[in-house]
């Protein structure tokens, strides 16, 4: 499986080159990659459907326990077949859809990369690996949604979907790490067997919540559903692929995958059923008022995803089977309808509104046929697979009145949308301005295969149930579940409900304009919706970011120094308190008059420097401080230091005088309050430093190192001036660094004064 993924990613990388070499055949050529995967999966199907998953693993990052581990069981098989199969069709479709588009190569690259990532999600047997692919799908979908990047709406929608799904991804990551920690393994196959231990662990609820947030954002569950309709800014092939049949189902896949480990508790079923049912109904309701083709489809996708989560949440063996069946049915009809919608828009020169479409049956008979097949399947009309799935679903939820009512309401909306997209554009009178052609050959394979598939699966529902749905449901349930599907199950209450739903749906379809007007009236309410919350949150965050940055990064150096110094004082003070003061005996030498006098001189000179109003005075008093230092050095047996300090101080004064000669007198004063604050800070620093020095004096300095110098300077280093020997020999490396600093400081000062922007360059 690693090989398959590598092939797909390689295909993605090569896509622009393939497109450059064969501009008209790129999609077809690239479709070879998913077709190979599809064929391989088909070959593995017999084994997998009998409960023998294919497993492989290779080490990747051993230090983290990350392995390239894959596992193909019934659930993965169902998803992988859809991803590779529909992927191939979408690539073919893209070739026609983006004919002569300059950036077709890039689109093919990204969508192929997406396909590979999605395959990775459903095949991964390692939590981290799964997460890696999961994030990759978010990222590639960002690029796909923003494909029409010169439109601001597309960029915003791309950003929105990215932020929402990645935010969820972060929750998911935390959840997965905790899950692995509790289970003691990263491998899914290992975790799934530990359901009981996991469910009783103290971290169960946090894990559940974190994982669910991740899955809900990805699968557009309420209240995170808003990004999906906005994501319709993506080109239609991407919408058909990502936003109907694959990526948005990743969340459902994940929850289903983890069902044996996390499912079956009260919390699980309450959370999933509630969120799923809300999403199901809200999506259906919101779909009613739409008139843009893709948005109609998008909202019903939201609704369908909700239904899947709801069925998963109920969690009986029957609902799990129903869910698996519904996933299959939905993938077929929804992808087909998206492709049809794309075809219509493409061939009518950009018309997207159902209300503006009509009478296209003559111009686009082929499209009409495909659309009708898929639309009827969506509506749940017999004899389509949508009907079979719906029957199965109704059977699974039994007699629960609330669920039945919800299903009927939702089902009616599906009828409306199915007919609106599958029927409405083709019948009736053609508006005069509307001109259309049939879609080109290259775009036909997708709608045809998927549309006919919706019909064919219904007649082959027995084998399909046996080979695909059963194994998938078994994997979700964690036990073997036989599935027997029938197109005709005889007269039973389910059939009656189903038919009633159809009637209701047709009624709704007839009353479609009514919904549109109602939606128009309710539009202001959208401002209270989660989409607005998202925008508000983003704006608030950015405002806060701006505020804190203005507060901190004021641009005024003095503020920076103040904050830095205050932090230092606070931290040293905290450490002092933490240490509980100073302990031990101070080693102090007796007072000496001359040193005392020099100290007083230094303090006085320092204050003169601080208070000086003129440059010259401050330079001079700084010089006095320096000369006093030299005196101190002399008193303490440091003639080298004293000499150096003396010369350096003189030279410093000369340099300062040379430089400040050009600067004006001090004219920028500060208000008294500011000066007081600064003085307080300065006193704090002075106190802190004093305390530090005093504290250091409480420790007896070991003299091993300096004794070594004193003892060996003459014998080993041939010098009697120990300080000089240290400088040029014992610690010569310091000196090497030091003269380097000097040399570059000189070069720097020189360059700074001589090199001016825009002037000549004579060094």
């Amino acid at each position: 499986m690693l090989v398959l993924l590598t092939i797909c990613f390689a295909a993605a990388l090569l896509a622009p080159l393939v497109h450059r070499a064969f501009p008209r055949r790129a999609g077809t050529l690239l479709a070879a990659a998913p077709l190979a995967v599809f064929a391989w999966l088909g070959a593995a199907l017999p084994e997998v459907m009998h409960g023998h998953p294919r497993v492989e693993a290779a080490p990747w990052v051993e230090g983290l326990g990350l392995e390239a581990a894959f596992r193909l069981d019934g659930l993965s098989m169902l998803f992988a077949l859809l991803i590779s199969g529909i992927g191939a069709l979408v690539l073919l479709y893209t070739q026609g859809y983006f004919k002569n588009h300059p950036q077709q190569g890039r689109f093919l690259m990204v969508i192929t990369a997406f396909m590979a990532s999605m395959l990775g999600v459903v095949l991964a047997d390692h939590l981290l690996l799964l997460f890696i692919f999961w994030e990759l799908t978010s990222f590639t979908s960002y690029l796909l949604i923003g494909f029409n990047h010169e439109r601001a709406e597309a960029r915003q929608a791309a950003l929105q979907s990215l932020l929402v799904t990645v935010l969820g991804g972060l929750f998911l990551l935390a959840g997965l790490i905790l899950l692995a920690q509790v289970a003691g393994t990263w491998r899914l196959s290992g975790i799934l067997g530990q359901g009981d231990a996991l469910r009783e662990h103290a971290l169960y609820l946090p894990i559940l919540a974190l994982v669910c947030i991740g899955a809900f954002t990805k699968s557009a569950q309420f209240p995170f559903h808003f990004w999906l309709p906005n994501a319709m800014q993506a080109p239609t092939p991407a919408s058909a692929y990502l936003h109907s049949s694959t990526m948005v189902k990743a969340g459902v896949y994940l929850l289903a995958r983890l069902h044996p480990a996390l499912g079956g508790t009260e919390a699980w079923s309450t959370l999933l059923t509630a969120v799923g049912a809300t999403t199901f109904l809200a999506g259906a309701l919101l779909a009613l008022g739409q008139h843009v083709l893709k948005r109609l489809l998008a909202y019903t996708t939201v609704s369908a995803l909700g239904a899947m989560v709801m069925l998963l949440g109920i969690g009986t063996t029957d609902t799990l089977k129903a869910m698996a069946g519904f996933i299959l049915a939905h993938a077929f009809y929804k992808a087909a309808l998206f492709l049809v919608a794309g075809g219509i828009t493409h061939e009518t020169g950009g018309e997207t509104s159902v209300d503006q479409l009509g009478g296209l049956r003559r111009a686009m008979p082929f499209t009409f046929a495909c659309a009708l097949l898929a639309g009827l399947s969506m509506g749940g009309f017999p004899p389509f697979f949508g009907f079979v799935a719906k029957e199965n679903w109704l059977h699974a939820i039994g007699r629960h009145p609330g669920l039945v009512a919800a299903t009927m309401a939702g089902g009616a909306a599906y009828v409306l949308v199915g007919l609106s997209v599958g029927l409405k554009p083709f019948i009736g009178r053609r508006p005069e301005h509307l001109h259309a052609h049939e879609i080109p050959w290259s775009m036909r394979a997708g709608p045809l295969v998927l549309g006919l598939g919706s019909l064919a699966l219904a007649f082959a529902c027995g084998p399909a149930g046996h080979a695909l749905i059963g194994p998938a449901a078994s994997a979700v349930a964690g036990e073997t579940l036989p599935v027997h599907l029938h197109l005709w199950a005889g007269f039973n209450p389910c059939l009656a409900i189903s038919l009633a739903t159809l009637v209701l749906g047709i009624g709704c379809y007839a009353a479609r304009p009514l919904f549109g007007r109602a939606a128009g009236r309710l539009a202001p309410l959208v401002r209270l919706g989660p989409d607005a919350a998202y925008r508000g949150l983003l704006a608030t965050t950015l405002r806060f970011a701006g505020w804190q940055t203005r507060m901190l990064q004021t641009g005024i150096l003095r503020d920076y120094i103040r904050i830095t110094v205050l932090t230092a004082v606070a931290l040293v003070g905290a450490a002092f308190l933490h240490a509980g003061g100073i302990r031990g005996e101070a080693r102090l030498s007796p007072l000496s008059l001359r040193i005392g006098l020099v100290s007083v001189l230094m303090v006085l000179a320092t204050f003169t420097t601080i208070l000086a109003k003129s440059r010259l005075r401050s330079i001079m008093s700084l010089g006095v401080v320096g000369y006093s230092m030299a005196l101190l050095f002399t008193f303490h047996g440091a003639p080298d230091l004293a000499m150096t300090q003396l010369v350096i101080e003189t030279l410093t004064v000369i340099l300062m005088a040379l430089a400040f000669h050009h600067l004006p007198v001090f004219k920028h004063g500060s208000p008294a309050r500011m000066r007081a604050i600064d003085a307080a800070i300065a006193i704090g620093v002075g106190a802190a430093v004093t305390v530090l020095v005093l504290a250091a004096l409480h420790v007896q300095t070991p003299t091993e190192v300096s004794d070594y110098y004193l003892d060996h300077s003459q014998a080993l280093a041939h010098g009697r001036n120990v300080v000089n020997v240290i400088i040029v020999d014992f610690r010569g490396l310091d000196t090497l660094g030091e003269i380097t600093v000097m040399a570059i400081a000189a070069i720097g000062a020189y360059a700074l004064l001589k090199l001016r922007p825009g002037k000549g360059d004579t060094p």
Binding site: V61, L64, I132, E135, L136, F139, Y142, G146, H149, A152, R155, L162, L163, L167, L170, A174, I177, L542, A545, G546, T549, Q553, L557, Y560, I561, T564, T567, V572, A575, R583, V689, L692, V693, A695, L697, V699, T701, P702, T703, E704, V705, Y709, D729, R731, G732, L733, D734, L736, G737, T740, V741, A743, I744, I747, G748, Y750, A751, K754, D761, P763
Partner: protein
């Protein structure tokens, strides 16, 4: 081993001397700059090869035994940092070959660049605290001048803040060194570790530790000490920003790691908690700063701050895994950040601006440049399977294992905001149409030159991808380095020799 550990210091010095003597020959200096960068990289690789098996290389300068002379010590962390420094030096010197103007070249860009590397490398190998101070001064002085070289007004303003705050940091560092010497009578870090490990000074050690935390924290750009960074990094030429962004703050982080794993690890409940808190605030504050900016290099500069938080977080958690995460993060970040600044420079070269409002249309016009931006940008944001993802993953993993919920939550939120700012640059400069369609190319380069100009960026981007795809060996290296750090006894034994 009589010379090798000193080569990362001596080679740049030799190169700088050569460049200073040839200061009238701009072209020659450009070549020498690259040549010596390659040599430095070679020496670093040799050191890494020698240290890979876990042995610690020690050079006692002048042949004086430790702790009396100055020890140069190369453990795995040092070797890794040296190699990264060498790599960045090569990439940036090649970039500068194309981009640095003749005036700056003749007034010492090349020698200053090399001397800065000398200081950086010296800091990485110093086994002596005062020697570390000297190397800090070397790299700081060189960076002061590189920052101001050219004398444009923003450069000068940025330099003043940079100089003042970094000198303040040096004063704190120096005070810490003085007090530490007063307590322990030695400057050799290994012996300091022994002396302080024997205890007896208690609280004073913690106070000194805080002094070092401040000194290095300023240099690393931690909250709330990072002001100088966003004020100055966006001002000099692109090559200078790039090498700064890659290496300078990282020397601060390296120094923090060194002293807080070797010398100050007696009171971790206080010091390392402080570091951890600082890490969280640094991440958050930096990323918020970035989110509020509208100029590429400012965004990137604030992101340096934010990323420093991640690196320091590993040190604050102070477990083997967390330190491995820090090391991995360093490896990742140095490559990616340098690359982003180089790409920003290329954009500026092309469009004459760093301002997102004035940029646009690059995705349509320059697909290769787009990829070269996208790869490091997404790596920085932590998109798998690039290096940044693993770097963040390890730290988050370590944080969760250590039960540090708060800082892990912050790290997660910050990574989302990082993604936000990277997509902001992407959406505005690359995706959005150019505000004025006329100005297309100001680079003054023909196609072939432009391709060569992009070469260092492509190499660094490839490196990022490799660090992600082959994260196994890289992380293995980081783990070994972390294991060495967690066991200071090995370091002490290697330096002091079996005492």
């Amino acid at each position: 081993m009589t010379l090798l550990p000193a080569l990362p210091i001596l080679l740049p010095l030799a190169g700088a001397i050569a460049c200073m003597l040839l200061r009238r020959h701009g072209a020659l200096q450009r070549g020498l700059n690259i040549l010596f960068s390659v040599l430095i990289l070679g020496a670093a690789v040799a050191l890494l090869a020698a240290a890979r098996d876990g042995s610690i290389l020690v050079l006692q300068a002048g042949g004086w035994p430790a702790p009396f002379g100055i020890s140069l010590v190369v453990d795995l962390l040092s070797a890794i940092m040296l190699v990264l420094g060498g790599l960045m030096a090569v990439a940036v010197s090649v970039y500068a070959w194309f981009d640095m103007d003749e005036g700056r070249m003749r007034f010492g860009f090349a020698p200053l660049f090399l001397i800065m590397l000398m200081g950086v490398n010296g800091a990485f190998v110093a086994g002596d605290l005062f020697n570390l101070y000297v190397w800090f001064e070397v790299l700081l002085t060189a960076s002061f001048i590189l920052l101001a070289l050219g004398g444009e007004r923003p450069q000068l303003e940025g330099s003043i803040k940079y100089v003042a705050l970094n000198l303040l940091s040096s004063a704190m560092f120096l005070a810490g060194v003085g007090i530490l010497y007063g307590m322990a009578g030695t400057l050799n870090m290994a012996q300091l570790a022994v002396a302080i490990g024997q205890g007896g000074q208690g609280g004073l050690v913690t106070m000194v530790a805080v002094m070092f935390m401040m000194g290095f924290g300023i240099k690393a750009g931690m909250f709330p000490l990072f002001f100088w960074l966003p004020a100055s990094y966006p001002t000099p030429p692109a090559a200078v920003s790039a090498i700064f962004s890659g290496l300078l703050t990282k020397v601060g982080v390296y120094a923090l790691i060194r002293v807080f794993t070797l010398v100050f690890c007696g009171d971790t409940a206080f010091t390392h908690l402080l570091i951890l808190a600082g890490a969280g605030l640094t991440m958050l504050s930096g990323v918020l700063g970035a989110a509020s900016q509208h100029e590429i290099r400012r965004i990137l500069s604030f992101h340096i701050v934010s990323q420093i938080g991640y690196m320091v977080m590993g040190l604050g958690l102070f477990t083997a895994l967390a330190l491995a995460g820090t090391v991995f993060y360093l490896i990742h970040h140095i490559v990616v950040k340098t690359n982003l600044f180089l790409v920003a420079g290329a954009i500026h070269r092309l469009k004459g601006s760093y301002d997102l409002d004035e940029l646009g249309g690059l995705y349509r016009e320059r697909p290769y440049l787009s990829i070269l931006f996208m790869v490091p940008a997404m790596s920085l944001a932590g998109v798998p399977p690039l290096s940044g993802f693993f770097a963040k993953l390890v730290l988050i993993l370590a944080g969760l294992r250590a039960g540090a919920w708060v800082v892990v939550s912050v790290a997660l939120v910050v990574s989302l905001l990082t993604l936000y700012s990277m997509t902001k640059i992407w959406a505005n400069a690359f995706w959005a149409p150019a505000p004025e369609p006329a100005a297309s190319d100001r680079s003054g380069m023909d196609r072939a030159t432009w391709r060569r100009f992009l070469l260092p960026m492509a190499a660094l981007a490839a490196l990022t991808v490799c660090f992600g795809l082959f994260a196994g060996p890289v992380f293995g290296l980081a783990q070994d380095a972390a294991a060495q750090l967690m066991d200071p006894a090995g370091y002490i034994r290697a330096v002091l020799g079996g005492q």
